[in-house]
């Protein structure tokens, strides 16, 4: 536990010093600029458009941040050989990996929270009153960030190339938003080969449909089964990616 905490602390501090918080400033800028344009184009729908625009921007920036940071997380320490020194101390490798991952997740979550507060404040100033709904949307974004972070970590360790890991992470990220459509195409496909390929991708790619908060918003209440299923999915997917990452990392020689 002490090792995980020590690695978590230095990872979090490292990200803060590398100015991860700049993403929040960027988000604020996007939101203000977007809000100004939108208010000029659609004065009556300003609140709703600002809500959608803000949530989408919030999530996109957080996802870009987590993929970028996680892909570099271990590979950069291998390149600078800082990992040499860490692993020549009594450190179990999975403790190191978990500390690094959680430290990064925490840094991105702080950015996500900061962006959420800016956004919520702006919406509140415009008279929007759906505080509880906003929290649900925020938690869904966090779930996606955790899943993508774990996947990017696995890809970076398995592929050992930052460019390749970044490309594959982006590919799976996009794929994860279209699982319903891919399933439909796979079912309708006449070619067994195509069906197999699509189903294989479906089983590997994250399914972001689990984090679709629009239904909950539409109904007006949170279905506890949906919330539980989304949480279980995030934990299971991120956990599976992390276990595989540990398996790959255990085999590495430095």
């Amino acid at each position: 536990m002490g090792t995980i905490k020590a690695v978590f602390t230095y990872t979090f501090r490292e990200h803060v010093r590398h100015k991860v918080w700049l993403s929040s400033a960027l988000f604020g800028l996007v939101l203000i600029m977007g809000g100004m344009i939108v208010s000029a184009l659609a004065a009556e729908e300003r609140g709703r458009i600002l809500l959608d625009l803000g949530l989408a921007a919030n999530e996109t920036i957080a996802l870009i941040s987590i993929v970028f940071l996680t892909v570099h997380l271990i590979l950069q320490e291998i390149e600078t050989r800082a990992v040499f020194l860490i692993l020549t101390h009594p450190v179990v490798r999975w403790h190191y990996l978990l500390g690094r991952f959680l430290g990064t997740l925490a840094a991105v979550s702080v950015g996500l929270a900061a962006m959420g507060i800016i956004h919520w404040g702006l919406l509140h100033a415009l008279g929007w009153g759906g505080e509880g709904s906003y929290l649900v949307a925020w938690l869904c974004s966090f779930g996606k960030v955790a899943v993508m972070g774990a996947l990017a970590l696995l890809l970076s360790l398995a592929l050992t190339s930052e460019a390749a890991a970044m490309s594959f992470s982006s590919f799976f990220w996009i794929l994860g938003h279209f699982t319903g459509e891919i399933r439909f195409v796979a079912e309708k496909s006449g070619s067994p080969l195509m069906r197999s390929v699509l189903l294989a991708f479906l089983n590997i790619a994250p399914d972001f449909a689990h984090f679709d908060y629009r239904n909950a918003w539409h109904i007006g209440t949170i279905d506890p089964h949906w919330a539980l299923a989304a949480t279980a999915y995030a934990v299971a997917y991120a956990g599976a990616c992390f276990i595989l990452s540990v398996q790959v990392f255990e085999q590495k020689e430095f």
């Binding site: 690695v7 490292e14 800082a82 040499f84 020194l85 020549t88 101390h89 179990v92 020689e253």
Partner: protein
Amino acid sequence: MTAPALRFRNVGKIYRRSHLGRLTETVGLTGLDLDVEQGEVFGLLGLNGSGKTTAIKLLMGLHLPTTGDIEVLGKRVPNVDVLARIGYAPEAAYLNRSLTGREHLRLFAALSRVPAQGREAKVSGMMAQVGLAHALDKRLSEYSKGMLQRASLAQALIHDPELVVLDEPVTGLDPLAIKEVRTLILWLKGKGKTVLFSSHDISEVEKVCDRIGILSGGRLAKTMTQSQWRQKPDTLENVFAATVKRTDGVGEIRLD
């Protein structure tokens, strides 16, 4: 009779690399048999590519041996717990430059299982001991090369290890810093620590080692005790030159 601090038994390491389906093998170390006794200062001498760093990485658990066994302080490695009793400083200071001197040492103290109570005092004390008390709260990115080397030494010694492993500790240092490293090694010996270090620098090895081992082409070609090289000047240098052979693919400089 106490068990040796360090024991290599028939240790071999072959690096295998695969590129486009073609497998290449490089021999890092072959059949290494070596004991380093407790309280001894042992120097590993050899040219580039002779296997010095490979031997050190194997004992630190960064590499796994292809053949043979390694025992450190009575435990077979790789063993995470035994690492708490070893201090290791690599040839270059591979430190996270975004941290301050204090944060860096606090991290390694925590990783080396230094108890939380009294850790802060130990961190400040160790930084003062390596002459960096004035730079405690400076970021490592602002440190000079010499300061980084000292910060690296500090992390190796913060947990008061029984065995200290120094990989090329004097490479690239100025004469004053070299003298300080020499003094440090002798101070560690005085405290009863076992010191293993690798070097190209024969004159340094002569001054501090009780015993040396000459590695050549991944093999332990010769071991000598201090009494054997102290009898005549230049003995160690002559033995070294006669023992090693170049494996880095370059020829001799011709003077004709």
